[in-house]
């Protein structure tokens, strides 16, 4: 099942929320769990995703084999419940690259009315 989803995901681009969440996990390093992921996105972009959206997207990304998760030790301030941390699998890196590359190709030669600078992929800045 996981393999089928992985093969299917190779042909799919990430959605906007998936993209944001994967990037947030990358930025957070080893401290990425639902609360910090949501806060990171809000702090960086100003977007306030609902908690439900974050959980469902994390669940979907894990099903597609983009993420791996593990549980930390339970703590008293969390009512004895453990945190569920996330990290990217290699497939997620490939998906991010694929999505960004597609976006970059679409952006090339386009100038929006506001005059915002044209985005450049990280790997091609040099």
């Amino acid at each position: 099942m996981l393999n089928v989803l992985a093969i299917m995901s190779e042909r799919q681009l990430l959605s906007e929320v998936e993209h944001l969440i994967l990037l947030a996990i990358l930025r957070l390093g080893g401290a990425a769990y639902a609360v910090t992921i949501r806060e990171e996105i809000q702090a960086t972009t100003g977007l306030c995703l609902s908690r439900g959206t974050v959980y469902v997207t994390l669940s979907r990304l894990e099903e597609r084999a983009y993420l791996r998760s593990w549980f930390a030790d339970p703590t008293a301030e969390r009512g004895g419940k453990a945190k569920r941390y996330f990290a990217l699998r290699p497939a997620a890196h490939a998906a991010l690259e694929r999505s960004w590359s597609a976006m970059w190709r679409m952006w090339r030669g386009v100038k929006v009315a506001s005059g915002a600078p044209q985005p450049v992929p990280a790997g091609r800045r040099a």
Binding site: R51, G52, Y55, V56, F71, P74, R78, G79
Partner: protein, 638 residues
């Protein structure tokens, strides 16, 4: 958990139901972590927690539903495979399942039978009449609160002036015995029913041929001698000839023209009786000598529906106002208030007597069902102990609990299907047994009780869960076998504690139900003994009873002996003779001696019921049989 986190319990409950298992802990933990950061009043924070739990659950819901659908599909495939296995096992050892089905069918069959009777009598009494459930009975109430019939003037006033009611029709409260004579044939007693001119149209009675009455045929007394005959009489006496419409019918020495034949599905609105002939209310003066104008001669009940948007209480209130105006215009001594009651509460018809009988029968059927269920559950619990090794082997070979559950479910479904079918068969067989539970009456009962879709649905709704419960509950004990002990051929039949508890509960239920039955039976037998020992005030040895009904003659009595009914087994059999031309009073004086002479009786006495007795007071004299009309009874001594 601090006091501030009391709302967390509810949130945890919501999350537990809707969020996938692997996410429950982290989601609740995250919410509690953020919960402590809010510096709000604890009530608001609890509300926030509940709101978040609900919102997150709503996001997970589609995912949960689709995974539940996938799980159901998988389980369906497993169930199909296990059903084949269960079928093979049942065929190999059919004894116990068949015994269980037979035992359960006793309970579910008895309950379904009582329901089918209730359905035919109380829930759907007139299947041929559209929307018969909305029909109400218009009657009167005495000052003591007892229900009584209406006089014709009262009924006419209510029908004319009540705006809250529609489709109001009038009918005689009791069946009438009419003497039907034909040239060259012996006189025959028919069951007649007096109805208003709009009866067939307002109730939308289906007609086999011809028409119902017209309104103008029921306006002036005695001017329209018309009749509608029942399908039974039409086929029995007229060979189903359509030319009967327009033919003349001799009833109680009166000539009536047949205008139509009712459909076979319609037997009349006096529940339990199959009417042979309907005559207009306005013909009753000629046919039965009934006084139409007297306000204190009560013999009619109305049937009608409340108009849309009007409550029954409002309709009754309007009727009371009309009654008060009527009373002011023509006062009588024992005035009555109008009453509007549902058909099933009406004492006119079989439902009046059968309702309490059905309630008792329903209680008995439920007890039988309880006893049968506990019996089967005990049997299956014993069988479950035998099967522990079988399940232990399957589990050790990798069979999951869901597969074992599917097998047990399939076995239960087989038994449940058998129980449903058997219940319907029992209900179908026992359709006609209802009359056994009803005391004998002068008229033979004709109850239209049949197994229809509603009865089948009831049988399924009762038998399926009951059988599944009694078959699954004990068997589920075996899904948790101590595999190692069972496989080592140690004593596998030793029940776990939960199984012993279940057995104890079943035993208590069985003994309780059996005790109730025993005590009930003893009380019933004692009541029967008491009833038999009640003294009627005279020696009952060798006393025979015969009934003569002169009422159908109507008008001035001519003294025809219409009916005689001795007790069963009597050698003095019923004899019908003619007394031609004698006045009724003289006939009464002469009849006992003549009866004694002709029947070889030692002595004979005659008792005549005082006055006309109508429906609602059917038991007219203690130990005597029912009577719906003025009747004469003889006591003969051999």
């Amino acid at each position: 958990m601090t006091r501030q986190r009391k709302g967390a319990r509810f949130a945890a409950g919501i999350i537990r139901v809707f969020v996938p298992r692997s996410w429950r802990g982290p989601v609740l933990g995250d919410l509690l972590e953020e919960f402590d950061r809010h510096h709000l009043h604890r009530v608001w924070r609890s509300a926030w927690l509940l709101w978040q739990a609900t919102a997150i659950s709503a996001r997970f819901l589609p995912q949960q539903l689709s995974s539940a659908g996938r799980a159901a599909q998988t389980f369906g495939n497993v169930l199909g495979a296990e059903a084949r296995l269960a079928g093979r096992l049942l065929l190999r050892r059919p004894g116990l399942p068949l015994a269980c089905i037979a035992t359960l069918s006793l309970g579910t069959g008895a309950t379904t039978t009582v329901f089918s009777w209730s359905n035919g009598i109380l829930l759907n009494p007139y299947p041929a009449i559209p929307d018969s459930g909305g029909l109400l009975v218009l009657a009167s109430r005495t000052r003591a609160g007892a229900l009584d019939t209406l006089s014709y003037p009262d009924f006419d006033a209510y029908r004319e002036h009540a705006t809250a009611l529609r489709d109001v029709v009038g009918t005689g409260a009791a069946i009438q015995r009419l003497v039907f004579t034909r040239d060259g044939h012996a006189p025959e007693r028919l069951l007649g029913h007096a109805v208003s001119g709009n009866y067939f149209d307002a109730l939308q009675v289906p007609m086999e041929t011809g028409r119902g009455f017209r309104a103008e045929e029921d306006r002036t007394p005695g001017t329209h001698p018309v009749a509608v005959i029942g399908h039974g009489l039409w086929t029995r006496r007229f060979g189903g000839d359509p030319a009967v419409v327009g033919a003349t019918l001799h009833l109680n020495s009166q000539q009536l023209t047949v205008v139509g034949v009712a459909s076979p599905a319609f037997r009349g609105t006096l529940l339990g009786l199959s009417v042979d002939v309907w005559t207009p209310l306005m013909m009753q003066e000629r046919l039965r000598g009934v006084a139409l104008e007297a306000r204190d001669d009560r013999w009619i009940i109305g049937l009608g529906r409340v108009r849309e948007g009007v409550s029954r209480a409002a309709a009754e209130s309007e009727l009371r106002n009309i009654g008060r105006e009527l009373e002011a215009a023509s006062p009588i001594e024992d005035a009555r208030e109008p009453a509007l009651i549902p058909i099933w509460r009406s004492p006119w018809g079989a439902q009046g007597g059968i309702g309490p009988v059905l309630a008792v029968l329903a209680a008995i059927a439920v007890l039988v069902l309880l006893l049968a269920s506990t019996n089967v559950a005990t049997l299956l619990l014993a069988r479950a102990a035998e099967r522990r090794r079988e399940f232990a082997i399957r589990m050790s070979l990798g069979g999951g609990r869901e597969r074992l559950f599917a097998q047990l479910l399939a076995e239960g479904m087989f038994m449940a299907t058998g129980a449903v079918l058997a219940s319907v068969v029992v209900a179908r067989w026992s359709e006609g047994l209802l009359t056994w539970f009803i005391p004998p009456t002068d008229s033979s009962l004709s109850l239209d009780v049949s197994v229809d879709g509603r009865v089948m649905l009831f049988a399924a709704a009762l038998a399926l869960p009951t059988t599944l419960l009694v078959s699954l509950a004990p068997a589920l004990q075996t899904i948790r076998p101590r595999i190692t002990e069972c496989l080592r051929e140690e004593d596998c039949s030793v029940s776990p504690r939960s199984s012993a508890g279940l057995r104890r509960v079943l035993l208590i239920a069985q003994v309780s139900a059996a005790s109730v039955f025993l005590v009930g039976t003893a009380l019933l037998m004692r009541s029967v003994q008491n009833a038999q020992s009640v003294s009627p005030g005279f020696t009952q040895d060798n006393v025979l009873l015969a009934t003569y009904d002169l009422a159908p003659l109507g008008g001035p009595a001519t003294g025809t002996l219409a009916h005689a009914r001795p007790r069963p087994g009597s050698r003095a059999s019923a004899r019908a003779s003619r007394g031609g031309g004698q006045p009724r009073a003289a006939w009464f004086h002469a009849a006992p001696h003549r009866t004694a002479d002709r029947s070889g009786l030692r002595s004979a006495a005659c008792r005549r019921h005082a006055g006309r007795v109508h429906g609602g007071e059917r038991r007219v004299s203690g130990h005597h049989a029912h009577s719906t009309e003025g009747r004469t009874r003889f006591f003969g001594k051999r």
